[in-house]
């Protein structure tokens, strides 16, 4: 069974430098759909990827796109050849991306992120505007509803800011 909070806790505890992006970032911003995996954009330096591997070690991470579901066994040398990692673990799927369409590399993605408090954790998640931009850049039909939800959320939030103490109807 997936447990996204625990997966994120592991990454934070392991000192992995990452930003939540994709569908799960939409959930963070208030979207109501259900997503089956967590997408993160992370620093693809060998040091960070090895921290990620260590953080997930007890969760039996495998490359889920390989036919034999190869065990995650990164070395400093193999890290340098990677651009994305599509993993499955005992508690959920995790996609690690080195860049995001419409935004750029990890440095730019981190600049477009905000810090959010989730219980005892502080996480970086893509800001709403940047998330909409990245979803639009992909031009995938399956993102249509997500974009509509995110744009509606942006509008609702701006209305809330304009009328902060509007009485309930």
């Amino acid at each position: 069974m997936s447990d996204f909070s625990k997966l994120l806790e592991r990454l934070v505890a392991g000192g992995v430098d990452f930003v939540i992006v994709g569908g799960f970032a939409g959930v963070v911003h208030g979207c109501t759909y259900v997503t089956q995996d967590i997408d993160i954009c992370c620093d693809f330096s060998p040091a960070n990827l090895l921290r990620l591997q260590q953080a997930l070690a007890e969760l039996h991470p495998v490359h889920r796109m390989t036919p034999s579901r190869k065990k995650l066994a990164l070395t400093e040398k193999t890290c340098k050849q990677l651009k994305n990692l599509y993993l499955d673990t005992d508690i959920g799927q995790l996609d690690c991306l080195s860049s995001i369409d419409g935004l750029g590399d990890y440095r730019k993605v981190k600049q477009a992120s905000q810090l959010i408090d989730v219980e005892d954790m502080q996480l970086h998640a893509l800001r709403l505007d940047a998330l909409i931009e990245s979803k639009k850049a992909l031009s995938r039909p399956r993102d249509k509803e997500a974009i509509l939800q995110l744009e509606a959320i942006r509008k609702l939030k701006s209305e809330k800011r304009s009328h902060p103490q509007q009485p309930a109807i």
């Binding site: 911003h29 408090d117 942006r154």
Partner: protein
């Protein structure tokens, strides 16, 4: 100045359309509205409950 007001009005009308576009697509905007009043932790917790339910239904279907 006039131009800048025009730009703002256009942007505001585009944003107004965002709600209508969501409704037209069949999205329950009241659920979005409820959700943005919740904390990040609560949104993630509720998503997890929904995901667990989807997993259970999927497993039941394959039994």
């Amino acid at each position: 100045m006039v131009r800048s007001h025009g730009k703002r009005a256009k942007s505001s009308s585009r944003q107004k359309d965002a709600i209508q576009a969501a409704i037209d697509w069949g999205i329950d905007v009241s659920m979005l509205s409820d959700n943005i009043r919740r904390s990040y932790a609560e949104r993630i917790r509720r998503h997890q409950i929904a995901l667990d339910t989807v997993d259970k239904l999927r497993k039941a279907k394959h039994r």
